[in-house]
């Protein structure tokens, strides 16, 4: 067999075999293999992309969180300050009110005392007047007989007797 001369039988067998192998491999091997390689590549790419996206989102959320935290801190401080102010206000007001109240109470007590005293004085005056009259009557009954001059003198005494 010549080394450089292609033999007819070999060509025939080779052609038929190669075509059959090619068709079988194309349908049952290359198609599923290439397809699954492609889908796997794509899924890996997608996974990487989504991981990247998630990381970015996480970063954003973290940044947001920090902002929210800072805001919350500010809010808290504000609330605390307000509360402190309010407390002071309340205390101050209470103090003021207490002072006012105590003043009022004192005033009214003073007023009542004054009225009481007046009433007492008035009563005492009346009683003194009555007593004086009675005393005067007794004295006059004993020493003097009813006379206008004596009555005038008594009146004058009473009038001069100013207790208040």
């Amino acid at each position: 067999m010549g080394l450089l001369m292609p033999h007819f039988g070999t060509i025939i067998w080779m052609t038929i075999s190669f075509i059959i192998v090619f068709l079988i491999l194309k349908k049952f091997a290359w198609k599923p293999i290439l397809n699954s390689l492609k889908t796997r590549d794509k899924s890996i790419e997608d996974a990487l992309l989504s991981a990247d996206r998630t990381r970015k989102e996480m970063q954003k959320i973290q940044a947001d969180n920090e902002i929210i935290l800072a805001e919350a801190k500010l809010e808290r401080d504000k609330i605390l300050k307000e509360a402190r102010d309010l407390k002071e206000n309340i205390i101050n007001e209470a103090k003021q009110k207490a002072v006012e109240e105590s003043g009022k109470i004192l005033d009214s007590a003073r007023e009542a005392l004054k009225a009481e005293r007046l009433a007492v004085v008035k009563e005492i005056k009346e009683q003194i007047a009555g007593l004086s009259i009675a005393i005067a009557e007794k004295i006059l009954q004993e020493k003097l007989e009813t006379s206008n001059e004596q009555k005038v003198v008594i009146e004058k005494f009473i009038h001069d007797l100013k207790l208040n």
């Binding site: 067999m1 010549g2 080394l3 450089l4 001369m5 292609p6 033999h7 007819f8 039988g9 070999t10 060509i11 025939i12 067998w13 080779m14 052609t15 075999s17 190669f18 192998v21 090619f22 079988i24 491999l25 194309k26 049952f28 091997a29 290359w30 198609k31 599923p32 293999i33 290439l34 699954s36 390689l37 889908t39 796997r40 899924s43």
Partner: protein
């Protein structure tokens, strides 16, 4: 990336060197001398045996045969007979086992193996009138049997791998998949995609993958020294011719207007090279045919050269052993060492040649489907 490019460059230079080397040595004398030697050896063996003929030894291995020779011990030949399928005009279809021919020493139904040109080592037929003609011969020879073995291996590997992909979608490769997948991705991303282009490479992937693995696995099968390996299938010119022919047909079928325009009206060339004598179109048209021709010769020459070298080292042992038995034992050590070295080199060549054939096919497809730029 840079490392990969350097490796690729080294491989490419290496492949070029090998192909140059083997082509050169084949055409400049080795081959004719060896063939002459072979014919000479046949004459010798007819009248007596015992003398070791290196050329005969080598070419018996490299060439195709009707039986698969395993072992010879003195005059006993152990070989696997293969079916012979012949169609003769006189006797019609004849199918019989090659053992009927007694290793080329017997005639069966008028069929025998010729020992003379023009049908040397081929089955010829003695017609009724004494005329000797070659019948239509589609026998399952050693190479065809090796082809079937290779096909069984290829189908087993890739069908099971495909099954694995179907059963475990979107998961990391395992077992055979891990060996096959980098190769498939290599063919896809390093050969097809850059040579053909992003848009059209998918159409050619099945062919490129089939060719790549077909050549590679059969190359490696040829390196296995014991049957069912060891046949010189990818170093058979008919086999490489069929492969190159498929590349040629696919290139021609898929040729775009731009491709044919490039051939018949090459742009950027002075008009006087096209009219009145169509010099450039002629040169370009020759190029269309030389491309597959070169594919055919390169694969054939590289693989055959590898087998010749391996057989050469083995022959050395027996040649020296003929002079002096002790000398033969001494040389065997060196020979075996070189044989091992060559086998590793051939393992590399097996891959490189599969790569080069696939890569050049992809480049030709890329030229054929090129669009205007």
């Amino acid at each position: 990336m840079i490392e990969g490019k350097v490796i690729k460059l080294v491989l490419a230079i290496f492949a070029l060197y090998l192909s140059q080397n083997t082509l050169g040595s084949d055409t400049t004398g080795n081959l004719p001398v060896a063939v002459q030697h072979n014919a000479h050896a046949e004459n010798h063996s007819a009248d007596g045996h015992g003398k070791f003929e290196a050329g005969k030894f080598m070419f018996e291995h490299i060439e195709d045969a009707y039986e698969w020779h395993i072992l010879s011990w003195k005059d006993n030949h152990i070989s696997v007979p293969l079916p012979v399928i012949l169609y003769s005009r006189e006797k019609g279809l004849n199918i019989f086992m090659s053992s009927k021919l007694k290793h080329g020493h017997a005639e069966y139904k008028g069929f025998f193996i010729s020992h003379e040109p023009p049908h040397e080592n081929r089955i010829v037929e003695r017609l009724g009138n004494g005329e000797i003609v070659a019948p239509l011969d589609v026998s399952v020879t050693k190479n065809i049997a090796s082809l079937f073995v290779g096909i069984i291996i290829i189908l087993t590997i890739f069908l099971s791998v495909a099954k694995a992909y179907n059963q475990r979608p979107l998961q990391a490769p395992r077992g055979l998949q891990s060996w096959v997948e980098p190769m498939i991705i290599f063919v896809r991303d390093e050969i097809a995609r850059p040579s053909i282009g992003e848009k059209k490479f998918e159409k050619f992937m099945p062919y490129l993958l089939t060719v790549f693995f077909f050549i590679w696995i059969n190359n490696m099968l040829g390196l296995v020294p014991i049957p069912p390996g060891g046949a010189n299938l990818t170093g058979n010119i008919a086999v490489t011719m069929v492969l190159a022919l498929f590349t040629f047909i696919l290139t021609t079928i898929h040729g775009t207007k731009v491709y044919w325009g490039h051939i018949f009206n090459t742009p950027g060339v002075p008009w006087w090279l096209k009219i009145p004598i169509p010099l450039m179109p002629f040169v370009e048209l020759i190029g269309v045919f030389t491309k597959p021709f070169v594919l055919m010769v390169r694969l054939f020459a590289n693989i055959t050269a590898g087998h010749i070298i391996a057989m050469g080292f083995l022959s050395l042992i027996f040649l020296f052993g003929q002079m002096n038995q002790l000398f033969g034992y001494g040389v065997s050590v060196i020979s075996v060492f070189f044989l091992i070295f060559m086998t590793f080199l051939e393992l590399l060549v097996a891959f490189i040649q599969a790569y080069v054939f696939t890569f050049l096919s992809a480049v030709y497809f890329g030229m054929a489907v090129e669009e205007h730029h």
